[in-house]
């Protein structure tokens, strides 16, 4: 640590100060017990969702700082702000963090906050597993971020191709951090996928047939199916590479019949579906937002459902477009090229249906709606360049160039991040009971949008100029300087936009418009029938659903009182008990990961033994639920004026 230079020292000091600060504040305000009882041991999906959200925003900050460092380094030719090693570490952590520790927890935040409320359920199917998933993600993220100050970050790119990542070229420990942290969070993600599929199939309110489900819930079905089918491929790829590194096997070296291309295939069999995992829920969010703010039923509901499911299926047949230039042959390339283009068909259908939902509606330009409108422009362009990339012979020219960088940022930021922000604004009142400030939010939106185009449009052009990705510096004679400089300005504008979101949140905590109705946007689906924030048991009485957009129909026909609880008929509610075990399991996984990173096998296996012990302890547990007494429900409902 001591020999890594001032940047790392400064970070060490900052991390230390922040930790001391947090501990100090918690101790001063005597908040330890509150933190433990209310948050660390919670199994309430709404709180887990909020923790996911906070973690995702923090990681967006970390990944964003990485991005700004990279863009600063590339602003002018022959720059020496960062060394090659440092730049390589930064693009690796940036990519990994943005995809696995920012986008994934952000979509899980939305799953958790919204799905049970939307389908009229009191909780997810496996609340305890849900907590485990969160803590696995959380401690994996911690492990990954620690690499920075403990032994060096990974530096072989977020795709981590062997043989560059084999021991011969990369002694570690950075690469080990990558393999273990991603593995641990991946296990958690598989749990979440299973959990939400089970929740949606098993816990819907009576009468909510599949074709009456809100579209966000449908998008979670589609994403969960993809998670369950794709993440095991990643788990296997990472495990085999770890075996190569730690135990000297030859799965991905060329010796003894090993084959690095096998890793590339396995990685993208997960990696391509992964981008749909993070975009499908965003599609769901846009469907909710567009319908609500157009005051109109969603156009072509069954097409919307069909296209979601079709996208999740096609997404498995396109992975080889990530290596058209690996010599698979013309027939293979043609197949994967056409399959990739086909994804554009259902996606295009969704865009038309959103537009026709607005058509003959009454559109309110709220913040979620602004993010949705700017998403459409971004996604049209990102989708268009995606189709261009799918043209295999053309991709021989785009592959690994800045054209590709511009394309995937346009879809990942302009699609996923815009969608998640739209969702955050939309459901924020449901989470916290107040709206985020519109004026500050508009500043953030405008800055972020302008910044986006200034940052990434020049990168398409840089691709045509032959600039490769992952270059820490470039010579002056290539004529790449001006466009790179413009791009960097754009990145800072986006950073400023993010800052406005932070300011907006802080400002709104104090001054944001309070939501006393529970239905601040005049919503259509069940979550808006509850007070904001929803009581911990969600529904005092489970509604019986008779049609799509049930809450809207009730409002139209003045029947909302039907969803109010009645004192005489209230029954006590069984809810799962809090548990410390998921948290402790996360801690144990953290130490197991840490042990294997540094080849301290004793620590690694001891920590895994603790994981096993915790699981056995759980298996022997009999009473994991308790009854919420009627009195408490009465009191809670009365306090929100619903009785």
């Amino acid at each position: 640590m001591w020999n890594e230079g001032p940047m790392i020292w400064t970070s060490d000091v900052l991390i230390l100060l922040t930790s001391v600060g947090i501990i100090g504040v918690l101790t001063h305000f005597k908040k330890w017990k509150w933190l433990w009882d209310e948050w660390l041991t919670t199994v309430d999906h709404k709180k887990i969702g909020i923790m996911y959200l906070i973690a995702a925003l923090l990681m967006m900050f970390r990944g964003g700082v990485d991005a700004l460092l990279m863009r600063t380094q590339l602003a002018v030719p022959n720059n020496h702000l960062l060394t090659a090693e440092h730049y390589d570490q930064i693009f690796t952590t940036h990519g990994t963090i943005m995809i696995l520790f920012m986008a994934m927890p952000f979509i899980f935040a939305m799953f958790n906050i919204v799905v049970p409320l939307q389908i009229g359920a009191r909780d997810v199917a496996f609340p305890y597993l849900n907590a485990i998933s969160f803590w696995l993600f959380f401690f994996a993220a911690l492990l990954f971020n620690l690499s920075f100050v403990f032994g060096g970050s990974p530096d072989a790119g977020w795709v981590s191709y062997p043989p560059l990542t084999e021991l011969g070229f990369d002694k570690g420990p950075g690469e080990n951090f990558y393999l273990l942290a991603v593995q641990i969070t991946g296990i958690g993600s598989i749990g979440t996928g299973i959990n939400f599929l089970a929740t949606i199939f098993k816990m819907r309110a009576p009468g909510m047939k599949l074709m009456k489900m809100p579209l966000f819930t449908w998008s979670v079905v589609a994403a969960s199916i993809v998670i369950i089918a794709a993440f095991p491929a990643l788990a296997i790829a990472l495990a085999l590479l770890l075996l190569d590194r730690v135990f000297g096997t030859h799965f991905f070296t060329m010796l003894h019949g090993g084959d690095p291309m096998m890793f590339v295939n396995l990685f993208w069999i997960w990696g391509h579906p992964e981008v749909y995992i993070v975009i499908l829920p965003a599609f769901g969010i846009f469907s909710e937002v567009v319908a609500t703010f157009s005051k109109k039923r969603i156009f072509g509901y069954s097409s919307m459902v069909a296209s979601l499911l079709l996208i999740s299926v096609i997404s498995y047949f396109v992975w080889a477009h990530h290596f058209f230039t690996m010599g698979a042959g013309a027939n293979v390339n043609t197949f994967f090229a056409v399959a990739s283009m086909m994804v554009a068909i259902p996606t295009g259908v969704k865009v038309f249906n959103w537009l026709f939902t607005m058509y003959r509606g009454r559109v309110t330009m709220s913040l979620p709606m602004w993010w949705t409108a700017s998403f459409v422009l971004n996604f049209l362009m990102g989708g268009a360049t995606g189709v261009m990339l799918a043209v295999a012979p053309a991709d021989y020219q785009y592959h690994n160039s800045y054209f590709l960088i511009a394309h995937f940022h346009q879809t990942l930021i302009g699609g996923t991040v815009y969608g998640l922000l739209a969702g955050m604004y939309y459901w924020w009142p449901k989470m916290f009971g107040f709206k985020l400030d519109k004026k500050l939010g508009m500043w953030a939106m405008v800055l972020f949008n302008i910044g986006f185009y200034v940052c990434f449009m020049p990168q398409y052009a840089l691709g045509f100029m032959g600039m490769q990705r992952r270059m820490y510096t470039y010579p002056a004679g290539m004529g790449w300087g001006t466009l790179n400089f413009i791009s960097t300005i754009g990145a800072y504008l986006m950073g400023l936009g993010f800052l406005f979101i932070v300011i907006e949140v802080i400002y709104s905590i104090k001054y944001g418009e309070r939501d006393l109705t529970g239905d601040p946007w005049n919503g259509r689906t069940l979550e808006w029938s509850l007070p904001s924030p929803a009581p911990h048991y969600n529904f005092a009485v489970i509604p019986t659903v008779t049609e799509r957009d049930y809450w809207w129909e009730l409002k139209e026909n003045n029947r909302t009182h039907e969803l109010r609880p009645k004192a005489e008929t209230l029954k006590s509610i069984e809810m799962p008990k809090n548990s410390a075990r998921p948290f402790l399991m996360g801690v144990a996984f953290f130490f197991a990961g840490f042990g294997f990173v540094f080849h301290w096998l004793i620590l690694g296996f001891a920590a895994l033994a603790i994981v096993a012990a915790i699981m056995i302890h759980r298996a022997l547990e009999v009473h994991d639920e308790y009854a919420v007494p009627v009195d408490e429900i009465l009191e809670t409902e009365a306090a929100t004026g619903r009785l």
Binding site: R297, G348, V376, D395, Y396, N400
Partner: protein, 300 residues
């Protein structure tokens, strides 16, 4: 106070300004620094045609869709006195949906057809009537070694080729995977340890073309560029003769030295160990993939 009309006029004015600015930026796209858009050979040209075709097709779709969104957002704004029709329950129209399932299917079919045609074409030499020349490329940490089995010369970080002659590059890696890319001549292909891949390129006119590794291989990757120098067949022959007369041979030990991680300038050699390329491929495990090597024409 501005009337809505004035405001609209101002908006459209700034829109026009933005549009012309964007066009100006795009027009500079004709500058010769945009190497992909200025191919110097048949392979790059074929790829450019596809780039143009796909760009036109997708632009034809996204432009009207975007304009339609702007129109809808303005026309159906929720403001008092808006007389546009409001039909909150209108949510199905079979015909319209069929149209927008149908149009992209047609476009994908067209584009897919052209894609298939070019993909298969690029496997073959761009020019059938001229006898091709073979160059064996090995990516090392962090330099490029070119061997000319026909001419018995070798170079590092630059490669001379004759114009108008199809060049068959055979590619492998001694080290991590890289990707061999000369944007102005045509697309790239990976170099992989233990495998030998093929890439056809050809230059029409004399010139010096920038090439670079495209797949990240570690610390020295950013400096891993090379030049392809195209010249007439006679000049090429003279160049070979000169190398043969003035440069040293590449010995095993000199090759060994090249494989050490380092960034070097250009070098020329008047010969190389006879089976060097094949040995590199099979040392790295090519022997486990004989079927692939056969396909690449390496195992006879």
């Amino acid at each position: 106070m501005q009337t809505p009309n004035q405001r609209r006029r101002r908006h459209s004015k700034s829109f026009l300004l933005a549009l012309s600015a964007a066009t100006a930026v795009l027009l500079t796209g004709c500058g010769s620094r945009f190497v992909v858009l200025h191919p110097a050979g048949p392979v790059g040209r074929e790829e450019l045609h596809l780039i143009e075709l796909s760009a036109i097709l997708v632009l034809a779709i996204i432009t009207p869709v975007f304009l339609f969104m702007v129109y809808v957002l303005i026309r159906y704004r929720d403001k008092p006195g808006n007389k546009a029709p409001y039909q909150p329950k209108w949510s199905e129209n079979r015909t319209m949906e069929l149209i927008w399932w149908g149009i992209p299917i047609v476009i994908v079919a067209v584009l897919g057809g052209f894609t298939a045609k070019t993909t298969f074409a690029l496997v073959h030499p761009p020019e059938k009537s001229v006898k091709p020349i073979t160059i064996q490329v090995t990516s090392l940490d962090w330099k490029w070694l070119f061997q000319y089995p026909g001419q018995q010369v070798a170079t590092v970080n630059y490669a001379d080729i004759p114009t108008g002659v199809p060049v068959r590059f055979q590619l492998t890696a001694n080290g991590p995977m890289n990707s061999f890319w000369v944007p102005q001549l045509g697309g790239q292909e990976y170099t992989m340890p233990g495998m030998s891949m093929g890439l056809w390129l050809q230059a029409d006119k004399a010139g010096t073309y920038y090439g670079h590794g495209a797949n990240f291989t570690g610390k020295g990757f950013a400096h891993m560029y090379f030049h392809v120098v195209a010249k007439s067949q006679t000049q090429f022959n003279q160049w070979v003769k000169k190398i043969k007369a003035t440069s040293p041979r590449l010995t095993q030990s000199a090759y060994k030295q090249l494989t050490d991680p380092s960034v070097v300038g250009t070098k020329s050699y008047s010969g190389f160990p006879p089976n060097l390329y094949k040995d590199v491929v099979s040392k790295e495990g090519g022997k486990y993939m004989n079927h692939m090597m056969k396909a690449a024409g390496l195992n006879h």
